[in-house]
Symmetry: C2
Subunit: 599 residues, 2 copies
Amino acid sequence: MSALLNRRDLEFLLYEFLEVASLCDYERYAEHDRETFDAVLEACEQLATEQFLSHAAKLDENEPQFDGEQVHIIPEVKQALDTYCEAGYLSASFDAELGGMQLPWTITQCCNAIFAAANVGTVGYGALTVAAANMLNAFGTQTQKDKYLPAMLEGRFFGTMCLSEPHAGSSLADIRTKAEPQEDGSYLISGTKMWISGGDHDLSENIVHMVLAKIPGGPPGIKGISLFVVPRTRMNEDGTLGETNDVHLTGLNHKMGWRGTVNTVLSFGEDGDCRGYLLGEKHKGMSHMFHMLNEARILVGLESTALAYTAYLYSLDYAHNRPQGRHADEKDPNSAQVAIIEHADVRRMLLKQKAYVEGALGLLLYGAHMVDQHAVTVDEERRREIGLLLDLLTPVMKAWPSEYCLEANKLAIQVLGGYGYTRDYPVERLYRDNRLNAIHDGTSGIQGLDLLGRKVVMYDGEAFQLFIREMNNTLRKAKHEETVSEFLKAFEQAIALLQETTNSLIELAGKGESQLFLANSTTYIEMFGHITIAWVWLQQAMIASKKIDSEIEDEANFYQGKIDACRFFYRHELPKIEAQANLLQAADDTFLRISNDSF
Amino acid sequence: MSALLNRRDLEFLLYEFLEVASLCDYERYAEHDRETFDAVLEACEQLATEQFLSHAAKLDENEPQFDGEQVHIIPEVKQALDTYCEAGYLSASFDAELGGMQLPWTITQCCNAIFAAANVGTVGYGALTVAAANMLNAFGTQTQKDKYLPAMLEGRFFGTMCLSEPHAGSSLADIRTKAEPQEDGSYLISGTKMWISGGDHDLSENIVHMVLAKIPGGPPGIKGISLFVVPRTRMNEDGTLGETNDVHLTGLNHKMGWRGTVNTVLSFGEDGDCRGYLLGEKHKGMSHMFHMLNEARILVGLESTALAYTAYLYSLDYAHNRPQGRHADEKDPNSAQVAIIEHADVRRMLLKQKAYVEGALGLLLYGAHMVDQHAVTVDEERRREIGLLLDLLTPVMKAWPSEYCLEANKLAIQVLGGYGYTRDYPVERLYRDNRLNAIHDGTSGIQGLDLLGRKVVMYDGEAFQLFIREMNNTLRKAKHEETVSEFLKAFEQAIALLQETTNSLIELAGKGESQLFLANSTTYIEMFGHITIAWVWLQQAMIASKKIDSEIEDEANFYQGKIDACRFFYRHELPKIEAQANLLQAADDTFLRISNDSF
């Protein structure tokens, strides 16, 4: 059996690429060191394998059912989540005083990736709860926190995010859910929410919904949206569960994949008695929600990476062990068949997967590390910069893996051939699961608009210039490394092309061509993503190039593999940006100009 | 509800692009004219909608089940197939004297596409039977034909192709199924066959398996393979069904999609009493099977196109009708939402689908038309040329749609967003169905090897040069058309790039670098395919450009849409070949050189 993720690679990314252990120099993480991190990952892998992976296929085949009264989920899910909560993974990133392990975000994201690789459906309940708890922690009053946070962090209450409505998926400005203020300070919530993951189940004692709604009389559109805490079951003053809160399950959505996380349509206030509690400021709901959404988007990128990473390892293992055919120059049909890893195209598909998934994981852990650095950095200016970079790269960290790691999943199936297409092998399920990631929490198209229309231009392009500076820093360092010289010219050109292309688009915007400016933003984020991954790979290759002479054979092979994967990315992938840049600089409008009746 | 395929486009391709009606000038098709063709298509669409589409989702959710004794398939399948056979679709391409409609292959392929768009799982039984009947017709003795062919063409017997074995999927040289000659001229067959579509069911009275097996003492490898007719139930002399023929269902394969066509593992001769009958010559099994396989490969390309084409129409219809969000320059949040077809990125995804599916359908019908021309052309030299072109393009017609029409299916889901990912909308099923096409009947990698390693170099590159000549002919004609001038430079460069790249690869082969020559053949077929589709689009655009001034608004819109889709392909897709050509000319070997332990 292949591993969930490659532990050696995780260690490389954590300790050699990101030097995460140095976080322990800060007071916040002083209780930790590399050993505690390793122990957490080790235990995580064991738990994920024994309790999550073990029922992943069964859960996919037996998705949650709604009998009209309640949701039924196979018992393995609750059992796994109970162990997960007890072992402290749900609260792992939270402060010790809240009962958490106070682990760096980077480490808990590694855990998330391991759990997602094992069973993304089951761990989803936990991940959503962490995101909801983080938002509550950031914007809740002390009373609100006291009421819900401990129970959430213990895993007694799970959380959800309720944004979309049946008629308003990507267009949140149009939500209709109402919140009418009551004399006691609470609000009466009424409306229907769509696509609510973890919206109803009996896995936890209570469910804490984070709901976007409009207070009547507020500004129209986005600016009139507020955020509310809406428990499924109300809480008594003494902290015990009270009466039901008029939140009803209307139906389940039946998805292609990701079937384990129950996905619901919820109706709030059918009987006019659903209480919600304002979280944060009135009419600031969207900005508060983005606190959760940014985190969720990076998590989506990470999960997407994990689904592809584990499929890659599975297909690699299969390729090592499946005999089929012969080398092209072997003319004797009676000779033994060779393992398919010997065939050129299988090798290409494996190395492409490796270049995608290890590149993406590097980016996502870099992102997680920025979250940690943002939390501990004292220097205000540097702290602000880190925040800007994180903002800029969030849509990239969401969209690139959603698209390219799905492509990797496709290749994992292809390596297994007909077997890979059957439900007897996990690669087909992982592919179906991963198809969701380009859709939920903002489609790839929306990430493109966010990147080009908002992030690149914000503060007069400051974040973008910072990113260019970061890449140039890497380039400067790389120029001192003979061993990576083959990549430098291409990377330098890529940076220049990104600047040039971005400038030409911004010029368009300046001329008032706002529609044309954003028309190809999906292509822009693809190009931006490829350059970002090339940057991540160059950094990995620089580290590896210093160590390929290791006398330990496994180590030498590992580092050589990093160089080879980087080389593959630079030869097979990075050159694609040229056609993209040409398209963007030409500001193609073919699809804008075609008449609706000519499709 | 959207249509299965766009009838106007079918008519454009058949009568304006391919001028199929002129086939009726030949004696073979003298009974037909455009009116009979149209009537066939009209009736086909109706039958496909009423009897095939109507149970497509149900069949996907209720795949065939094996209870240990027999296979159970929902009754709608048999009902649909009975009607299909009665209406003459199964035998449509066969001679009138065999009871067929003697329709051109191009027309019957249109029918196949329409049925596949409706329900690829159900029509699969018929399509396999046609392919088996064609092979029997080509290589069978008169006695063999008399015994099976009429029953197959009436749909009383269905057919299969039995190539793969559990340990030999793509490497047929290694099959172990044995055929031991008996005194009566028959053979005793023994062995296990894998991935047999339509291998067991009660939809027909009998199943005629076309089985590859080795006669003991024959040459090793591919050269020792022979082809046998192996009925599930033996035939009495009087044509009635006799005793069972020792063919057993061992199990079913459970696939991601394409669930309607039962896919089986079959065991032949468990009791030492399975009779097979040699079809064609001893040890020529592979060459005979390629008669079926080439046809099957083009059919796979066509089905892949149909699955994407109908998903495109569905997503287009959805985009016209789903309100969501506003134009970027609409600042009033109280204004009405617009249909999502108004959004730039949705338009891009729609036009990309259109460019893929209408380009692919053009290529596939061109291929079908070559089959017809091959059958009727009297001039030996031209006939040979048509055969060569068909051989050359077969792997392209299989691989390009399998990859790019899957990409189109992915976009159809994306247009529908979260809804598209649910099983409530057909686009998710069509995506799952289409994922098979890059695998069965030779993976995309194998098509690449076939194209570059066999077809391009055969007869000293004659077929390849013919194709270049065909493309140059189009280019020459296009130079007289002012209206398509924008495409000419790019197309001319594409032809040059293909020649240059092919030459540089052949030079490698000449230097004995056979592994390096073929290492990137998957990239080669991608590039070759893109150029082929660009050629097909240029031809479509040339025709359309003469008619965009039509005074009938719908017609003008239709033709303008062709120009726009061609433009999209030339601006967004064709430029990708440059990076591919560079990679191929550099003969990248990164994935060959990486050590197996460095992945």
